[in-house]
Point group: D2
Chain length 304, copies 4
């Protein structure tokens, strides 16, 4: 059975379940009004073969999936110094908890919790020239199509993101944020507000299944070692406080966002993106997870 048939099968199996469980993120209007009865899936192999099915061409807000791209940029710009301000351990707590940040003196546990992504954004402001443009340029290059920031979503995030403002100020109070809080948060809120579709995202993370080399140009985006490390972080920390469950049931490095997207990597083989807006209690796409579970059980492509 080829890739396209597998994806078609998954869409056929998921479609009857749409709209039956879970709930779309409702903390900003632009996310709350998304139709929950959508599902898309796309993949791109290491060698550039692509397949997609369902609503794979419908753009959605990438939200926390952007943390993969900001981490990639920061590892490229700052190298090992990045890890002086950010840990690499699972957090064992809901994704926006301040407790651990307090007991660990302003060092976020890992770059995929909100606090950690704010610390990454601070690094981008310090080391980059124009982080927002550079991130759009990186993603556009990786998916071979221009991407943009949805300013309505970015403004809503900024207007309601009190907990992220709290996190940034809290890190700052420990002396662990070098730049102005507003500047850092502006980078952070905007990176979350990029609309992309499944195929674009499958392409944009494809370098992680190619030892770090660009899917179209073949140039190293990051080193092979760095790519493997991002995969490791995605597996242990990429899906909020359900990383253990994802490893247990799906067995692939994944990064999810509250827009309902999840990207997944089969190292050396392919990259994958699923999307369905209704979330479970852990803020991960409910049917996105089921689709990934089907995919790994049908293909046997778990890393374990």
């Amino acid at each position: 059975m080829n890739s396209q048939e597998i994806l078609d099968d998954i869409v056929a199996a998921i479609r009857p379940q749409l709209g039956k469980a879970g709930a779309v993120a409702n903390y900003i209007p632009a996310l709350a009004r998304v139709n929950p009865c959508q599902f898309g899936i796309a993949l791109r192999t290491r060698d550039g073969v692509e397949a997609w099915a369902g609503d794979a061409m419908t753009p959605f807000s990438i939200q926390s999936i952007s943390k993969v791209f900001s981490l990639t940029m920061a590892m490229r710009l700052a190298g090992e110094r990045l890890w002086e301000r950010i840990g690499r351990e699972p957090s064992g707590n809901p994704f926006n908890s301040l407790m651990q940040l307090e007991s660990e003196q302003g060092i976020p546990r890992n770059p995929f919790i909100n606090a950690g992504a704010i610390a990454v954004a601070d690094c981008l402001v310090t080391c980059g020239d124009d982080p927002k443009s550079e991130m759009l340029a990186l993603i556009s290059s990786l998916c071979d199509e221009p991407v943009h920031i949805d300013e309505e979503v970015a403004a809503s995030e900024a207007a309601t993101g009190f907990r992220n403002v709290a996190l940034a100020n809290f890190i700052k109070s420990f002396g662990k944020l070098d730049n102005d809080v507003c500047t850092v948060l502006d980078v952070y809120f905007r990176q979350c507000a990029i609309p992309m579709n499944c195929l674009q995202l499958a392409r944009a993370v494809n370098f992680l299944c190619r030892d770090g080399s660009h899917p179209f140009s073949g140039v190293q985006v990051i080193s092979a070692r760095q790519a493997r490390r991002i995969n490791a972080l995605m597996l242990t920390c990429g899906t909020y406080d359900a990383a253990g469950e994802f490893a247990f049931l799906i067995g692939l490095p994944c990064k999810s966002g509250v827009g309902g997207g999840i990207v997944a990597i089969v190292p050396d083989t392919l990259s994958l993106c699923v999307w369905s807006p209704a979330l479970d209690a852990s803020h991960n796409s409910l049917l996105g997870q089921k689709a990934l579970e089907m995919f790994t059980s049908r293909t046997g492509l778990s890393i374990f």
Copy 2:
């Protein structure tokens, strides 16, 4: 031995210890440059007899002692509704901890920790017309002298108060702050930045040993029941995470500030203010505590 003699004795006993231990608060320049070798003490009895000694006429930044006045105003304006947003239990944690705030869903433990005072300030913005002017008017009336805000201190507090900004945004993220974060914090930062001397503060809290009646006019500032409740809160929560130690060693309701001042109440009898800028590890005035311990052991005026 009369009051004046007791205060003179205490000054004589404390003076040789000045400058030997503790450290002044150093998070803002205006506090960091205060000469630590100062000590003042003043009291006013229920009947209006006053005594003072040492540097009792030197103004210092009242800082968290202002929380007594903001609480008084909020109890007057909001009555029992105030307690829907603020608890009345000791916090059992350092004064600016976010942990408990997280586990208790944005309800601060009590009005004397920073989070609680921010919630009180939110109540003042909601219920008052011009909280900053009203607070200055209340304090000026209580101590029978005009008091003002030190704008340099207020600006420094605002520029470096990242943890308080974090607290306010965190409370807001739980939907437990009704007003704009900046407006609330402006009230909060300014109330801390009032310079007063020991005699002014002994007068300004005198209503708490008079069943709530104004020390000069005799009008009820708050009810007798409310005054007793503020005293109870001062005893259990008024001295950061050393409230148990204060009750154990001093045995009086107290409220301290990082400017080095401590006010204390002997119910039905007198109010007292001590000041010495060097703080101990709990952020309470080191020699202020010793002076209060001497005072209660010499006079036998502990409430226990």
Copy 3:
């Protein structure tokens, strides 16, 4: 109105509320089968005048009220050394929480939480000859009547007290328990299992309103300073995680037990015991609290 009339009034006001709210402790059969519709109250003044009303002569399990007597014994035997192993701050957490014990390396916050009382029991085993007999002798002397241990209750406590076994082993794991865990817990479980009535308890804590002197012999049980310190601890830590609420509403040093008893001290004036088995969510007697609130509002005897 004299003491007896006040107590009679309180009984008349409380009786119609019996059985309407709260629940008896149900973790051991001997407590679970107590009739909730009982209420007793008794007091003894500093000068030895006694009054009682309602079910003041019905014995009940003193449970945590025993912590007052074990602390008294330990302060007598070990003096200041006691405080090397136990703090004096409110815990800010439910009474049997292990969290704070972990973050504070096996030093319980205060002697009135279970962990603290276990550390007190350890001190009694170290410093005493036969702690169980000595405690019975002390209490019997203080209330002028022989008291005994209810072996059924003690056995039930031991058989179901897994959390206390956990606490003791946890303290031991930090090297902060000198004696064998079982020996220490035997003292702890037995001290809780003493049946006494309201009048006996009002007598037994009467030394705390007499500067530490024995209510019958006048001999110092502990020093005046130590007595005041126990009162301070009762006020800040004596009623589980409702100490702030008790101070706020009642304004007296109190110690409660899950048997439904509460002792209260009006310093220099009188000691008091109320009892009603139905507890509120904080494990304090629901109607016992109401009775104490009536008592202080009618007599004006709050310490604040």
Copy 4:
């Protein structure tokens, strides 16, 4: 370069570093007196090719590596029911923390922290006939040689394991332990006290790189799906609070023990055991980790 050459190279590279950093576990005499200057490594491929080098034939106490075998037994006996009492998420806290256990009501985060392994032992007591004999039989079969319990080590563990006694009683207090605490702990302490060498352990976990089939008989020990899930748990939770670091640097499912051993799985390919007694701050073998890092960087066998 073949397996044997790689292992020889690693031994040559590690040997000069022996005794220079880290410290052997010292909480029981039998572990404290182990010579830190030892290092062994062994592997067995999916197809049964074996290689070893250094002190690979010297037995050491397997300690927490035993949690892999007890989990395997429990998954076999209880199936999915096991997960009603144990989570599958990383703990984000030191390996013996009680905090999370308290906030999660007696449900340990995962089967590889001590609390979780105690819950697994409880399941073995419930579902098995003679858990200790059955575990010895399982391990002996898997490594094709008889293994035994070191009774001195087991007795020392039992005599000093106060924190584990605390954990078991704490879980019991939430009603989440079905059997007698002592019976459960006896199973737990004994399973840790098995001496094995590197080759024996590489064989004993070989079924995890063979889709669950026995390395010698080929019979399914557990299902392929269960084997992958154990690998996933080892990756996310197998190395105390350094699981993220192991994934980041080594990229293989691992389980470590305070005896200095670490087993690692390359799915579908081989199983591996390294041993060196000196531990780092996270209680993982310091040189064991370095050896694994060398192994994956030389062979490119990371799962990422």
